[in-house]
């Protein structure tokens, strides 16, 4: 198990290196320079700026410098906010995104699992149809539409929660709800499919033949077996959502990483874009690793080993 995790960490570092390299060269291929938006700069001033940030050196040299700095945990300094290191820029933005993301994930996955389970138990009657309708709406309505609706009714008309900003915990409620809908809908759909499968399986039949009541069968034999596959989608969903939502954070003016990402792209802030990309990749891989570990802890059939010996 430990050996497995170490090996996975090794792969993660390799992947991060590849991600860093690809983003670096992609940035170089992009049209526009970081300072071209600031058209007040004279040619001489531009030259000084380029020198200060090392942009006048050959690309391969810039690349090596970049990688070398990365090894020391130095993601460079932001072009947009002078003298602001990218790393501290990201960490200062982390808290709002993590708060909103984790709240959304908890609400979304719990309600989604519940909704999916209720739908599966009531398969093919009106409750199931209602639940299916809810999840289709949840998947197809973009979170920004929902965000705007929440803002308009709950915040603007009924004054229940703040419209935007991040001054107190109350302000995190609406964006969390807006973000929660997509994972809710996706978990509900997945949970329903899995649970319908499980309910049709032979061991559920055997559970009834043992004399378990309907409820005992659901509690003892259905839930755990349906939840195991659901965990696999929760990992990537969490990674997506914890890293902040570009759209929702912008609508609610949350100073999170999602909002920062959008700003950095608009201003051609290369170091920040690259830093954020690597950060996203890292989050994603960490979540996948956690998912796999959780999975192996819950499902007795899976043992984390390096080689596929027996199954």
């Amino acid at each position: 198990m430990l050996k497995y995790i170490l090996k996975r960490l090794g792969y993660m570092i390799l992947t991060l290196f590849i991600v860093a390299s690809i983003t670096f060269f992609m940035m170089k291929l992009m049209p526009g320079t970081p300072f071209s938006n600031q058209d007040k700069l004279s040619a001489a001033q531009l030259k000084i700026m380029n020198e200060q940030y090392g942009l006048n050196k050959p690309i391969w040299q810039q690349y090596l410098i970049y990688l070398g700095n990365l090894l020391h945990g130095d993601f460079g300094t932001s072009f947009q906010f002078s003298n602001q290191p990218v790393l501290s820029l990201i960490t200062s933005r982390l808290k709002p995104s993590l708060l909103i993301g984790s709240q959304a994930m908890i609400i979304g996955s719990l309600l989604g699992i519940l909704l999916g389970a209720v739908a599966a138990i009531n398969k093919n009657n009106w409750i199931d149809s209602l639940a299916t309708f809810v999840s289709i709406v949840g998947i197809s309505v973009p979170s920004f539409v929902l965000g705007v609706l929440l803002q308009f009714f709950i915040a603007f008309k009924w004054h229940m929660f703040p419209i935007a900003g991040f001054d107190n915990w109350q302000a995190s409620v609406l964006p969390s709800l807006a973000l929660a809908v997509s994972p809710l809908a996706q978990t509900a759909r997945f949970m329903r499919t899995e649970m319908v499968d499980v309910l049709n399986s032979d061991y559920i039949e055997l559970s009834k033949a043992k004399g378990n009541t309907r409820w005992q069968t659901v509690v003892k034999h259905t839930l755990r077996n349906s939840l195991i596959p659901v965990i696999t989608i929760l990992g990537p969903l969490t990674a997506n959502i914890l890293t902040g939502s570009l759209v929702v954070e912008n609508i609610f003016s949350i100073p999170g990483i999602g909002e920062q990402f959008v700003k950095s792209i608009m201003t051609n802030d290369y170091p920040t874009i690259m830093g954020l990309t690597i950060f996203y990749a890292l989050m994603f891989m960490v979540m996948l690793l956690i998912t796999d570990i959780l999975y192996s802890l819950i499902d007795p059939r899976i043992r984390l080993t390096n080689d596929k010996e027996e199954n």
């Binding site: 399986s201 032979d202 061991y203 039949e205 055997l206 559970s207 009834k208 033949a209 043992k210 004399g211 378990n212 009541t213 005992q216 003892k220 034999h221 755990r224 077996n225 195991i228 819950i298 499902d299 007795p300 059939r301 199954n311």
Partner: protein, 358 residues
């Protein structure tokens, strides 16, 4: 007959489907005595599983029991509440399912799974239940059961899993054990072991067994009586010897002729040509008539009633009508009857069910 632990009377079961009403069970009646093994044989789709599931109260949700009674010790199970049926299941009625690979919960230890019926039905502590579970696992022949209680199903072989499924079925000493093709998924050696095990358990526990199979070879080794089903009806019923050596129904002839024996080994087996009728719209006359080389005009017009051959042997075929012409059964059937008569004369068989091939 008060020694019948189970009496099924005039059972009719339909399934509502989009295509219409499937008349899956059509007027089925049979008895099961205490301590005996009744085999139900028949082609796929003949209604074996539906019949036995109705006893357990485990029919699909689109099933409608149109008519009939299922008397368990004189009580009609069809009139019992869901709660009362929960009480019977896994307690005095239990069932072994066909596929050992998928019948066990993959994420629960087998000790817990075997102990579960005890916990559901008896006011018994967890420790005691687990101890009993271990004893039963030893009884069904799981080696080193003590140390394997905490193992999961995937850590056992197919044969072992089927033994575990049997352990679950017998842990509460049921009065009736229904085994729905319990050995089809297993290879022949394991099959034989499981059959031996069930026989042994039956002697110890005095259980009545309903054993479903479409493999007649298995029947001889385990059953006391045999009921042959075709298209939702029982068409012949009798003791193992009566069915194997003096069968009367052309369908039984067909089944027996398609069964491999020692001397047909290697020879080409005849299977019954044709397919069973569509149960959405069953024929007016004998459902087997279109496939029956001995069919007469009346077979197309009226369903044959049961004709009594002996006190224990009945068959539903017009051939047994006093006015019917005498026909010669297929050669293999005649040969069987002759061999049997010979063996009986020379006294070579004392317990006749072992005179057959195994």
């Amino acid at each position: 007959m008060s020694d019948n632990i189970l009496e099924v009377k005039n059972l009719n079961i339909n399934f509502k489907t989009f295509a219409g009403t499937v008349q899956a069970i059509r007027d089925v009646s049979f008895n099961l005595k205490k301590g005996e093994t009744l085999a139900i044989v028949g082609e796929s789709g003949s209604g074996k599983s539906v019949t036995t599931r109705s006893i357990m109260g485990l029919l699909a949700s689109n099933a409608v029991i149109e008519h009939g009674e299922i008397l368990f010790k004189g009580q009609d199970l069809l009139k019992e509440s869901a709660k009362e049926m929960d009480h019977h299941r896994g307690n005095d009625l239990s069932m072994i399912f066909q596929d050992p690979m998928t019948s066990l919960d993959p994420t629960m230890t087998i000790g817990k799974q075997v102990a579960e019926p005890l916990r559901i039905h008896g006011k018994i502590s967890k420790e005691k239940a687990l101890k009993r579970a271990q004893e039963v696992l030893e009884l069904v022949g799981i080696p080193n059961a003590k140390n394997r209680m905490k193992d999961f199903p995937h850590q056992f072989s197919g044969g072992q899993r089927q033994r575990i499924v049997i352990a679950i079925a017998i842990v509460n000493y049921p009065e009736i054990l229904i085994a729905d093709e319990p050995t089809t998924a297993l290879d022949v050696t394991v099959q034989a072991q499981i059959i031996d095990l069930m026989r042994e358990l039956q002697e110890k526990l005095e259980t009545s067994i309903i054993f479903i199979t479409h493999d007649l070879g298995v029947v001889a080794g385990i059953a006391d009586r045999v009921a042959v089903m075709y298209a939702g009806k029982i068409i012949e019923v009798g003791t193992v010897d009566e069915i194997f050596y003096q069968p009367k129904h052309p369908y039984t002839w067909g089944l027996l002729s398609s069964m491999p024996t020692l001397d047909t080994k290697g020879a080409k087996l005849s299977s019954i040509p044709g397919t069973p009728p569509d149960l959405l719209d069953p024929p007016k006359g004998d459902a087997f008539a279109p496939r029956n080389p001995y069919a007469m005009q009346i077979d197309l017009e009226a369903q044959p009633p049961f004709f009594k051959v002996s006190d224990t042997h009945y068959a539903a075929t017009w051939l047994l009508h006093p006015d019917a012409p005498k026909v010669q059964p297929p050669a293999p059937i005649v040969k069987r009857a002759q061999e049997y008569a010979h063996l009986m004369q020379t006294g070579a068989v004392d317990t006749p069910s072992e005179g057959s091939q195994n």
